[in-house]
Symmetry: D2
Subunit: 336 residues, 4 copies
C-alpha cells in the first residue's frame, strides 16, 4: 500500500471530540458512566446527560440522550477555526450529501455547527466552539471509578474499509498510523487507524456491516485504572458489561478493556498508545491473518466483538441508517 | 547481637490489632480518615468513630475518641485464645504493673479485655474477641481514597531501645526482623522491628523521648495507592498533612508515606514488606549511621519525624504519662 | 461446615517452602524461568537448576531437574524446629506410609530431611535447615522479568477433596481460609484453601484426578508485574505459555496469571491476598456453582485448567504415582 | 496576559526531537543511560553514543559525545518538510544569526540540517530526515530500567523569560499551555510551557542565568517506572544522582523525577501530561508565588534545581556561550 498524502484538504479537523448516544434509561446510564466509571456530569436536562472526562476542559465529550432505542446520534470533530465549520458545510453541500446547520446552543453548550451524513452514511458533526468547564485534572479528590480522562477515538464498522481509508486520508487529511490488510493480491485494507492529533487514532475503521459504531475509546492513565474498572463493575453486579479484555492489542500497543453499557453500546478503556507527530512516520502494516494484531497475548476475541455494533441515525429523519454487508469476506478465523 | 529466643512466653500474642486515639474534632478526623483516605466507618457514637480498613473483617482497627487533647489512649493486641487474656492479666498483676479489666462491650464491639501500663509506660490492651464486620475486600465499588487495607503495625518512641527490644523478644515472644545499632562498643540497639505475624513488624521501637506513639502504620496494596493519597490530600487542601515521603525505607523495604492527621497524630501508609515466617530467618542489622536504613534513595527526613510524637495516657488516671529522655545520645546527624 | 481445630498436631509445619520439578530440557527451562520471568539462579549442576525468588534468602524455592519426563518430584514444607523433622518421620512411619530419610546435602544446599508418600499419594518433604543465599529484595538493579518474589503456595489435584481437607486441618494443623462446597445435602467440600503462614494458603486442593500437581503459585508485588509477564512472554515468542488470565479470583481475591512452562508444568503469578493471622477468622464458603469464585470478572477458564496437571512421583521407585478419578462428579458447568 | 497567535510562521516545527550532550566519560554515561535507565543503544563510535527511547523509531533522540567538558552541543527540532529546513536557514541568515549548514550524515544517521545560534544564544538544529531504527515499543522482552519511552521536551534557562515566550509563540508558532507570572504590575512571564506537538510542552523556559540547558525530559509510561528508577539507581550506588522528586508538579500535572547524570547534566523522567490539541485551549496561569505550581504536594525543591544548569556551546567556535543574569529578580522564596 502506498500511503496517500492529503494535498488539498477542504477544511481542517483537529481531532475527534465528542459523541452522542441514544439510551433507553438515563438512570441506568448514569449509574454506569458516572457512579461506576467516574465520568464527570457537567449538566443534566430532562432527557439528556452531558458528561466529560477528568482532564477535559469543555462542556461534554459524551452526550447520553433518552430515546426509544439505542443508537448513535452523531460523532463530532473539532475543527481548527470557525471558518472551517463553514468550509465543511460548503464541502458537503457541493457534493450533495445531507447537511444540517445548527445554531449556537442547539446542542447544549456548543456553538454553531454543521452535521452531515458522510459518504459512508455516518452522522458526523463539525464544530469549533464549546463552553469551557472546569478540568478536574488536578482535582484528585474527585477521581472516582476508572478515572476516565478523555475521549480518545471512535471505531466504526464500514462495509468498504479500503474506500473508508481513502476517504479519511485523501479526502480529509487524516494520517494512517497502522492498518490491517488482506494477504492475497490485490491486497485490500481491512482496517485502518487514522489520526489528526498526535496519537495512534482519532478514528479507526473495522470491516463489517456498516455504517455502525463499533466503540468509543476513552483514555485512562494506566493499566491499574483498567483493572480497577473490572473490579468495580464486577463488585457492583455489572460483570456482564465486561465483553473483552483486559488485554494488549498488537495494533496501537493499547492496553484495552471493552465494556457494553446498559444499552449495549460498546466503550473501550484504553491506555498505551505512542506519539505519531512525525509526518514521515511510516504506517505499520499487519496481515489480517496475524492474530497478534488483535490480541498480543493470544486470547481470542468473542464473536460479539466482531459482529455487534450500534446503529447510526440519519441526521435528517432521525431513523436508523440501513447497513450493508462488507465488501471483503476475508474474516479471519479467529473472528468467526 | 545474639538474638534471643522466647522460651517461656506467659501468653501468646497474635498481632497488633487496633489502636485508640484521642482527637479534638471528630468531624475533622472523619474528613481526613473516611472522606479523604477511604477508611470504612463501622459505627459512630456521640464521642467516637470506629473505623476499619477495607480488608478487615472486625468492628474496628482504629478508634477516634473526642477529647480535650490529642493523645494515644491505648494500643491493642489480639491474643491466641480467650485464656490468653486471663494469662496476660495474671502476668502483669503478678509483676505489679497497673492492670484494668474491661467487661465485654466496655469497648464497643469488643469482648472482655485487660489493659495494662507496661514496663515502658505504654497503655496496652490484650483481647481475643471482637464483633465481625463485613470485609470490603471484594467491594471494589466502595474503595475510596488511598484504599487502606488494614492496620499493619505501631511504632513507638522508647527511652531505652535495648531494654524495649529485650522486653518484646525475651518477655513476649516477638521475633526481630531488623534492627539498628550503634557502632562503637558496647553496641546498643537503637531501634528494633519486631513481629508476631509473618511480616516485618507488629511493633517497632525508635530511640527517643518515651513513652510516646511515633506512628500507626496502615497497609496499602501498591505504590500507586501511596501516590494517590498525596494527590488527593493536596487537591483537598490537606497538603500540610504530608510530613515525609513518599519514599523507600532501607529497613523493611517499605514504600512509605508519613501523614499528620488533623490532631497531628502520625500515620504511615505502607507497602512493600516481605515474608518473615521462617523461625531461623536472621535479623538484619543496620548501623545507625547508615543513611540508607531510613531513606534508601537518599532524602533526609525532617526533624519533626525524629522529634514529634503523640503522648500516651495512663490506663488508671487518663492523664498523659510522663516521658523521659533517651538513654542513647547517638542521634545520627541526619536526625538532628 | 464446622471448621475443625487442630488439637494434637504431630509436628509443626511453618509453610510451603519449595518444590522440585522434572523437566526434559534444562536450557529451555532456564530461558523461561530465569531469562524471561526473572528468577535468580543460585546454583547450577550438570542436571539441575536451583532457583529462588527475589526476596528469598535461602538456596532454592524451585529445583528443575533434568529427566526423561515432566513430573513433580516433591513438594517441601519448612518445619518449626529440627526436632519436627524427626517427629514427621516417626509420625509417617508409625502409620505405615513410605518414608525416606535424606542426609544433609543429599538435596543440594539443604540439611537433613524426611520425604514421605502421604495418604493421598503426594511426595512430600519436611526439612528445617537450608543454606542462606543473598536476598535480592533490595537489589533492584537485578530485578528482571515479572519480578517473582517468592514461592507462595502449591495447588494439588485430589480425588477426595473432603478427605484432603480433613487431613490437612485435623491431621496437620492447617487452617482453612476459604473453601468451595457442593450445594445439595450432604454438602461436600470441592476445594479448600489451607494455610500455616498468615496468608490465604500454603496449599490448595482441587477436585480432580489425583494425586497430581495443579500449579505452583509465586508471589509478585503488584498487578503491573503480572501484566509485564504477559507482554514479555508474548514478545519473546512464548505467547503459548499463557493459559489463563490475567484476571481476578473471587477466592483469595488474587490477581492471577497461569502459565505453562516448556514442560507444561503450570505456574501461577499471584498478587492480592490478605492477612489470615487471626485464629478465629471464619473460613469463607463459596458454592461450587458460583462462577465468581473462580473468575470474579466473569471470564471462563479453559478446559485445560480443570483437566491438565503434572504427575507426581513415588519417593521410593521414582515412577509416576497412579491417579484415581474424583469422588465428586459435581463439575460445575463452566468447568466442562 | 493576552496569548499571542502565530500569524506568519517562517517555517513549521513539528516537535523537539533530540539533543546532543558533551560528556567526559562515555563508559560512565553508558552505565547510567543504558545499563541503569534502559535506553536503547542504536550505534556507538569511538567518541559518541547514539541512544533512543523504547518507542522511538529513529536513529537517536540523545547523543552523548566525548569531550573535555560537560556541555550541551545542540537541541534539535524536527520540521514538517524538507523545505522547512531551507526556510529555517533563510530565516536566520536574513536576521544575521550565526548559521551552519550540515550535509547528510554529518550528524550520524541524520539527513541535511541547519544549526543556528538563536536570539537567546541557544545552539538549535532544524532537520527533517533521519534513519529509521526498530521501535522497541512491542519488544517488552528488551525493556530494562526505567523503561524510557521517548524524548518529550527540553527545559532551558533564559535571562529574559518574557522575551523568550514571545520569541517562541509569535516568532515560531509554539502554543503556550501554562505559564508562571509575577503578580505585581506590570506582570511579567517568569516561565512558559510551549508546545508544537499535542502535549504540554516541547520546550519550557525557566527564569535564570541563560542561555543554559535546565533539563531534558524523557517520557515514561507510568508512576511505577519513575519509582523503579529511584530503586535501581540507589541499589546500584547511584543514589547521588537523585536530585528532586519523585513528586507531582502543579504545572503540567507531571509526575516527575530529576536526575543528574555522571556529568551533572539534568534529566527528567516524566509522566502525566494531558492533551493540548485544541487551538483554543486557554493557557493556564500560575502565580510565581504559588508553591503548588512547582510541587503540588508541598515539598521544596533544592537550591541546585534553581541554580545549576548545563552550559550551551557556540555552533561556530564550539566554546561555551557566555551567560547573563536574569532580568527578573523575583525569585520565589522557596527558590532561594
Amino acid at each position: 500500500m502506498e500511503m496517500s498524502k492529503a494535498a488539498n484538504v477542504p477544511f481542517q479537523i483537529v481531532r475527534t471530540h465528542h459523541a452522542e448516544l441514544r439510551v433507553r434509561d438515563l438512570e441506568a446510564a448514569r449509574t454506569f458512566y458516572v457512579d461506576l466509571l467516574g465520568f464527570v456530569e457537567t449538566e443534566r436536562t430532562a432527557d439528556a446527560l452531558y458528561l466529560r472526562g477528568l482532564e477535559e476542559a469543555y462542556h461534554h465529550s459524551l452526550v447520553l440522550r433518552l430515546s426509544d432505542r439505542a443508537a448513535c446520534d452523531h460523532i463530532a470533530f473539532k475543527v481548527a477555526t470557525p471558518a472551517d465549520v463553514e468550509a465543511a458545510r460548503a464541502h458537503f453541500e457541493a457534493r450533495g450529501f445531507p447537511v444540517r446547520v445548527l445554531g449556537s446552543g442547539e446542542e447544549l453548550g456548543q456553538g454553531g455547527s454543521v452535521r452531515v451524513q458522510d459518504p459512508m452514511g455516518f452522522p458526523m458533526e463539525f464544530f469549533y466552539e464549546m463552553d469551557n468547564a472546569e478540568s478536574h485534572l488536578r482535582r484528585f479528590d474527585r477521581y472516582r471509578g476508572a478515572f476516565p480522562m478523555r475521549l480518545d477515538h471512535v471505531n466504526i464498522f464500514v462495509a468498504d474499509a479500503q474506500a473508508a481509508h481513502e476517504y479519511y486520508t485523501d479526502g480529509l487529511g487524516f494520517r494512517c498510523s497502522e492498518y490491517t490488510e488482506t494477504d492475497r493480491e490485490p491486497r485490500r485494507i481491512w482496517g485502518s487507524w487514522l489520526h489528526r492529533k498526535d496519537s495512534v487514532h482519532d478514528i479507526a475503521t473495522t470491516n463489517g456491516d456498516g455504517p455502525r459504531l463499533h466503540h468509543l475509546g476513552f483514555w485512562v492513565q494506566d493499566t491499574a485504572s483498567v483493572l480497577r474498572a473490572c473490579d468495580i463493575l464486577a463488585a457492583a453486579g455489572f460483570g456482564d458489561s465486561i465483553e473483552r479484555g483486559p488485554g494488549r492489542h498488537g495494533i496501537s500497543n493499547a492496553f484495552f478493556l471493552y465494556l457494553r453499557d446498559p444499552d449495549r453500546h460498546r466503550i473501550e478503556l484504553y491506555t498505551g498508545d505512542y506519539l505519531t507527530a512525525d509526518p514521515d512516520l511510516a504506517p505499520l502494516r499487519w496481515s489480517v491473518a496475524d492474530p497478534k494484531r488483535g490480541t498480543f497475548w493470544g486470547h481470542k476475541a468473542p464473536a460479539s466483538w466482531f459482529e455487534e455494533g450500534t446503529p447510526v441515525v440519519s441526521i435528517l429523519s432521525g431513523e436508523n441508517m440501513p447497513v450493508r454487508s462488507p465488501v471483503l469476506g476475508d474474516r479471519p478465523d479467529f473472528a468467526t
